[in-house]
Amino acid sequence: MSTRHYFYKGIVLLSAAGLLAACGNEGDIPGTDGGTDTGTDNDNGGNGDDVSLAIMQGKVEFNAQFNELAEMYMDENPNVSIEITSVGGGTDYFTQLTTRFGAGDEPDIFSVAGPNEMEQMADYMADLSDTDAAGAALDGMLDTVTDDDGSISALPYNIEGYGFIYNREIFEEAGIDPEAISTYEDLEEAVQTIDSQLDELDIQAVFALPGAEGWVMGDHLANVFLAHEFNEDVNEAYNAETLEFERGDEFQRMLDLQADYSMEPVLSLDYSQQVEEYFSLGQVAIIQQGNWVYPTLEQMDPEFAENGVGMMPIPLDGHEGQLPVGIPNYWAVNDNNDDATVQAAKDFLDWMYLSDEGKEFVINEFNFIPAYEGYEDMEIGDPLSQVVYDYSQSGETIGWIFNGYPTGYTNNEFGPNLQAYLGGEMTWDEMIDNSIAGWESLQ
């Protein structure tokens, strides 16, 4: 999820440059380069059994590796030619996708993220229930894309998960066994134990809560306490007229715990400070983040990243030991095509996730946590991803529902409300009331 926010920022920066230029201001225009990588799909218009697949997808980070994989596939299957267009995530990708559909230049495989995009593309998404990949998907991975009639409209890219990432060494020195923490009370006790010996441990605080990042609190933390209200179903959240905050008290308790024992000032603390400065340099013991921080940690200190970090779930009464695990992106196959092309697209997806070469690539080059069976014997890329994979295998998970929030909810309503609560501008009850009203107004 973090990547989405980086690209979102990129888009905004670009617009900023544009706005400035349009205003004809006296200021100079900062040179920003687009973070997008677009190409046009050229139809080779081959004869016989030749098929060309145009792929358009929104996860630009693995573009290079994905292209390599496509090359391999084309070497194996000379009659298939693949053209990949990767566009930097979020709004930008989806706008370009709809534009391409609008212009009649439709890709044969495309990515969708979340119920909002799926609803808009529903008419174009082929039934994938006959693919091998659909059969091999792990339990629950297809719940949100399965229709009542059993048809499956999309296949997951990969899994991501988040929780409390902790520093093993600090826990050890403080005499706490992270494995033994399961309830909120356990966590609170551990936090207080660490807090009482900050000086001995030579750290600055227990937590680093990035109050400047609405998504860490509004998307990720809140998801733990809101998921069960919507039966862990992102579609139910997407269609909900309102929300209740049934577990609002627990949510408040957890937010307070993080804020009270966090580095100050919480409200200007951002993602990079949280991960790079405070956690990877050993200044705080715990951060609430996901497996996507691993490359960053590795860059800062490979030794620490490899052996020094662990991840545990965010305790929720009655659901202890469950990690929030979800699917950020899905593959869809364009239905508005001849059968041969649709079949070729399905074959490619099957090959990518189920063939030996494909699996090797998915794990080691894409650094994906697979959402499919058949990876049990393989070594997952890094320890944090391993934790997420283990939880998803055992089924001890909490579903992601925040992709079903109304568009812009976290950015413009929920996040600011939570910040106002942390800043003392709102009471918790006002925070709840405003966030409910905000949901209703955007829905």
């Binding site: 349009a22 706008t95 568009t407």
Partner: protein, 286 residues
């Protein structure tokens, strides 16, 4: 339009054409879309003033407007006072005046986004380090409260733009005839009297220009806002431009964002034009 020759029209055609394509036409399109349910690609129907009625109840927009007004008010005053002071300083007999001009102007050459990040570092890290060192509590926790966010933005804007305003004032200060100052000296006018009765009235056109520039730029600030505070904490430092971008691009309510932009355009145009009108009336000709 006295010159109706063909060459006249030929020469202005490129400007007129590009101006209408990238400014005038989009403005009209914008007005048009604000009355529809446009989603960025297509629109289905006209919905009249629905968006504008909704604006009346939009607390965040109102709050952004109020914040922008306060910000513009403070930064216009501070910018002009400091810009003029700097101009007086570097037109005096100081030995280092040329190097000072360059130094004062330099921040203006750095892009607003980058400046925002640099100042974010200064406010958050350097200030708190200084606060730790000296024990001054006022230096701690900058940008984490609405007040420090506000002043942070003012400081950043003034630091960036004062040099530019200075250049404008320098031009007008140097345009004052030496004979006037000399005769004032002979009459025994004090430095304050010289400033009040000679310099000040003669640089009035400079005020018109500088006020116009600072007014419109303070209202329209976006990049500094984005990179310094990002609107935080809790959107309390979100200015109107940013509110519009968020509405249109992050909440994906293109037409609603467009109606905000129309209102904003009307406000900025009204302020700028009336300011120019009144300042013009005060100018004196030699």
């Amino acid at each position: 339009m006295r010159n109706k020759e063909l060459s006249f029209w030929l020469f202005i055609t490129p400007v007129v054409l590009s101006l209408s394509l990238v400014v005038i036409l989009p403005v009209f399109l914008g007005f048009f879309y604000s009355f529809t349910d446009w989603n960025g690609l297509t629109f289905n129907q006209f919905i009249g003033f629905t968006h504008y009625r909704r604006l009346l109840d939009d607390n965040q927009f109102r709050q952004s407007l109020w914040f922008t007004f306060r910000f513009a008010f403070v930064s216009i005053i501070v910018l002009n006072v400091i810009g003029l002071s700097l101009a007086m300083l570097v037109t005096s007999q100081l030995k280092s005046r040329n190097i000072l001009r360059t130094i004062f102007f330099m921040p203006n050459l750095i892009g607003g986004l980058i400046l925002g990040f640099i100042w974010q570092f200064i406010f958050i890290r350097v200030f708190s380090a200084l606060g730790d060192f000296t024990g001054i509590q006022g230096l701690m926790g900058w940008l984490s409260t609405p007040a420090t966010g506000f002043w942070g933005l003012v400081i950043l804007t003034v630091w960036q733009q004062a040099g530019y305003i200075m250049i404008i004032y320098i031009a007008y200060l140097q345009g004052i005839p030496k004979s006037l100052i000399e005769s004032a000296n002979i009459d025994g006018a004090s430095p304050f009297q010289k400033f009040k009765y000679i310099i000040f009235p003669l640089i009035a056109p400079g005020f018109t220009v500088s006020m116009f520039l600072t007014l419109s730029s303070s209202f329209k600030i976006y990049d500094q806002n984005l990179s310094l505070t990002g609107g935080g904490p809790y959107n309390s430092t979100q200015m109107v431009a940013m509110n519009i971008v968020d509405t249109a691009f992050s909440s994906n309510q293109m037409a609603y964002g467009q109606s905000k932009a129309v209102i904003f355009f009307i406000i900025v145009a009204t302020f700028s034009l009336s300011q120019v009108y009144y300042s013009k009336k005060r100018e004196v000709d030699l």
